[in-house]
């Protein structure tokens, strides 16, 4: 059994570069098993880069990313995926040359314990109706987001990285995604969420980290949210 005091994901002094530009300057945070943790911050704070560095998509990186006690910093993104982490990228990454069904079945199952297709359709009934659609990119923005989340639930990954899943979506769809995230948490998934919309984040998250200029500058739990609203407004500029 996993030691409950060890976090599922522990990020220490994570630094990352895009070519010459130094984007992350030592990011520290951790995510415990079964938690929903949100990274908040303005545009360009380094939230997406943090996700991509954990996933190994940004390859120029140093520091430490430990998942289930295993060091991932030197690994390639395909190895990191097989360690049990799955990413739902900000731009959703639905493939135009694949049908909806092919998009849904694309990520390979890496270990047992993923959701069955029926369970995924219970979460996203729209997807089942659109399964025959010839092109994944012909779906609406909301449906594409559901497809992007749905496809990583099958794989058996225990940690889901969701990068701004509500961006550009209608309020009713945002509510549905919030419901989905809460349901996934109940089913034992651990989720690291990147959000700009902290009102949405407050409906799903257990803890928050605030990022600025490639560093974590503050953190608090959901219970401490009300006391920190003023500060948050300042951080996020809202």
């Amino acid at each position: 059994m996993l030691d409950v005091t060890t976090p599922l994901l522990a990020v220490k002094d994570l630094q990352a570069w895009y070519g010459e530009s130094h984007i992350l300057h030592g990011v520290d945070f951790d995510v415990r098993e079964g938690e929903v943790v949100t990274l908040l911050g303005r545009n360009g704070a380094g939230k997406t880069t943090t996700m991509k560095s954990i996933m190994g998509i940004v390859t120029q990186r140093t520091g430490s990313v430990r998942f289930e006690g295993q060091e991932l910093i030197g690994k390639m993104s395909n190895q990191i995926a097989r360690a049990g982490i799955a990413l739902c990228p900000e731009e959703r990454g639905i493939f135009a040359s694949l049908s909806v069904e092919e998009n849904l079945l694309l990520p390979p199952v890496i270990r047992p314990g993923g959701l069955s297709l029926e369970k995924i359709f219970e979460l996203f009934p729209n997807l089942k109706e659109r399964l025959g659609s010839s092109q994944g990119t012909k779906l609406s923005g909301g449906e594409q987001q559901m497809l992007a989340i749905g496809r990583i639930l099958r794989t058996g990954a225990r940690l889901l990285l969701l990068d701004e899943p509500t961006e550009g979506l209608a309020p009713v769809i945002i509510q549905q995604i919030g419901k989905t995230i809460r349901s996934l948490k109940q089913q034992g998934f651990t989720i690291l969420l990147v959000e700009q919309n902290f009102r949405f984040a407050s409906t799903v998250a257990d803890r928050y980290y605030v990022m600025e200029h490639g560093r974590i500058i503050d953190q608090f739990s959901n219970a401490e949210l009300d006391a920190n609203v003023e500060k948050l407004h300042e951080y996020l500029g809202v």
């Binding site: 996933m55 993104s77 395909n78 995926a81 990413l87 493939f95 694949l98 694309l106 794989t155």
Partner: protein
């Protein structure tokens, strides 16, 4: 025998058959080019040389080890495909992020080197390759005479083309390939080893060329320049079909072979240029090609 438009049926169908044979080679070669371009973004100018190498491997293993045509159909693509894997690892993998021109120049240089080495060793005169015993002779169909070997080439080429299309468009492996063509970074982040997949794709495309080379050996002589003569037409086929389109490569390969054959019957003077005329028209009207997805 009867006449169609004043032309004896034997002559007409004979040219049609030659057109289909040429079309079989156009289709196999442009299919390999399309697969390689789609996945690697490389315009593989050494494709003709790799086709020629396939024929030479078949010739050499027959000369020195007595290994005949049927095993050569498997051995030559494996040997040349392995060479392709080495070429991809040593040279091509460094070029993916650069302009197409670099890949084209590199593979063009490789083609010249491969052809030069083979010419230096074997001379430029064609070497004969015996047809397999089982495919000699032919069938009299009444309206024309159909040599067995040529019928085999058409059937084999069609079978390979259709299977390749099926794998790419209808299977899970094909879905990985198509997805990796669009967004390799994300496919890799799903746990798929995309670099290995790219290497094997190049190996497969090259093996297709070598397979075509073995099939060509009994029809044409085995010679160092057999690939460079063919490859220019094949590139025209690829441009007409649309760079990177699998179905386009197959349909235009066979189609243009037939058009070329028919031109030989009705207007022989134009038969060598008709494909290039069509290419020019297609480029003017549909620059992305008849089946092309991107400009």
């Amino acid at each position: 025998m009867f006449e169609i438009f004043g032309i004896p049926s034997g002559a007409l169908f004979g040219q049609l058959l030659i057109g289909l044979i040429n079309g079989s080679f156009y289709a196999l070669l442009s299919l390999g080019l399309a697969v390689i371009f789609g996945m690697l973004n490389i315009i593989n100018f050494s494709h003709g040389a790799q086709y020629m190498l396939g024929a030479f491997v078949a010739y050499l293993i027959l000369q020195y080890s007595g290994i005949g045509y049927w095993p050569a159909l498997i051995i030559a693509p494996l040997v040349v495909g392995l060479l392709g894997v080495i070429i991809e690892r040593v040279f091509l993998q460094w070029l993916y992020k650069l302009d197409h021109l670099y890949g084209l120049l590199l593979t063009f240089g490789l083609a010249l080197i491969i052809e030069g080495i083979v010419r230096n060793k074997f001379g430029s005169a064609g070497l004969p390759y015996t047809m397999p015993e089982s495919l000699r002779g032919g069938q009299n169909l009444g309206f024309m005479f159909l040599p067995n070997y040529r019928a085999w080439v058409i059937v084999a080429s069609l079978a390979i083309c259709i299977s390749t299309w099926f794998v790419i468009e209808r299977t899970r492996l094909g879905a990985y390939l198509r997805a990796a063509t669009e967004n390799p970074t994300l496919v890799r982040a799903f746990g798929i080893n995309v670099p290995v997949m790219i290497t094997l794709t190049y190996g497969f495309g090259v093996a297709l060329a070598a397979f075509a080379g073995v099939m060509a050996a009994p029809i044409y002589n085995v010679s160092p320049q057999m690939g460079s003569e063919l490859i220019i037409v094949v590139f025209a086929v690829v441009v007409i079909g649309g760079m990177g389109s699998i179905l386009g490569a197959i349909v235009t390969g066979f189609g243009l072979g037939v058009v070329e054959g028919l031109t030989k019957v009705f207007f022989p003077e134009a038969s060598n240029t008709v494909i290039f005329v069509i290419m020019a028209i297609v480029l003017l009207v549909r620059p992305a090609g008849l089946f092309g997805r991107r400009a």
